[in-house]
Symmetry: C2
Amino acid sequence: MQVKSMNDLFLNTLRDIYYAEKQIYKNLPKMAKAAASPELKQAFEKHRDETEQQIERLELVFEQFGASPRSIRCEAMDGIIAEAKESMGEVEDEAVCDAALIASAQTIEHYEIARYGTLIAWADRLGKKEASKLLGETLEEEKKTDRLLTDLAESKVNQDATA
Amino acid sequence: MQVKSMNDLFLNTLRDIYYAEKQIYKNLPKMAKAAASPELKQAFEKHRDETEQQIERLELVFEQFGASPRSIRCEAMDGIIAEAKESMGEVEDEAVCDAALIASAQTIEHYEIARYGTLIAWADRLGKKEASKLLGETLEEEKKTDRLLTDLAESKVNQDATA
C-alpha cells in the first residue's frame, strides 16, 4: 500500500500491530501449555486476557481515525513467533524450557513496546488525544508484563534452570 | 539443535543475536541511504560503527564460553528487517519516510534490548562475569540508540512529517 501521509503511516502501522496482537492471542495458550512453572503459566494466561482487551482498544483506535479494523501481515511478529515455537521444540529440560519461553515472550513484549511507543508519538502529533490515551494504556500493560517476566526469571526460573 | 542445559540455551541465543547483528550491520547503510534528515543519516552511520564493535564483543563472549563464533538464522530479525524494507518502499514523502525509518529502527533496537537483557541474566547465573560485562556494554549502547531515535523523532522528524 502506498503511504502518502503520516495518517496513512499511522494506519498502516496500526494494521501491523492489530495483526501482531491477534497472532499473540492465538499463540499465548500454546506458551501457557508449554510452561512448567505454575506462575509462568498463569502469567501467560493473564496476558492472554489483557491481549483480548488490547485488540478491542485497537478497534477503538481505528474508529478514532474513521477506519475499519483491518490487519496487514506483520512479518516481524511472524518471525518472532516462529522463533518462539522453534525454541519450545528444542528444549528437553522443563526449567530450561521455561527460561526459553520467558526469553521468547520478552522479544514479543519488546516488539509491542517499540510499536506502541511509536504509535503514541504519532497519534499525539496528529492531534488524536483519545487514541493516544488508549494506546498508552496498552503500552503500560506491555511494560508491566515485561517486568513481571524479568522478575519471574530472576527470582525463580533461571535458578531452577541452572540448578 | 537439541538444547539440554542453560549453557546450550545461552549459546543458541548467542548464535541468534550474532546472526541478527550481522544482518543489522548489512542493512544499516541502506537505511542511512534512505534517510533524508542528515541527523538521522548520521545516527544510522554511527550505529553501524557500534554494531561492528558489538559483533566483535559477541566473538569475545563465544570465547568466554569456549565456543567458536557461529550464526544460526534468526527468523525474528529476518522478519523485522523484511518489514523495515517493505516500509521504506511504500512511503513517498521524505519526512514521512524518515518517521517510518525511525519506527523500524526502534523495532530492531527493542529486539536487541530483549535479547541482551536475557543473555546478561543467563551469563550471571552461569557465573560468566566477563561475558556479562561485555553484553552489558552493548545493552547500554542499544538503549542509548533507542533514546536517541525517540529524541530525533519527537524534536524534528515527526514535526516535519505532519507539517
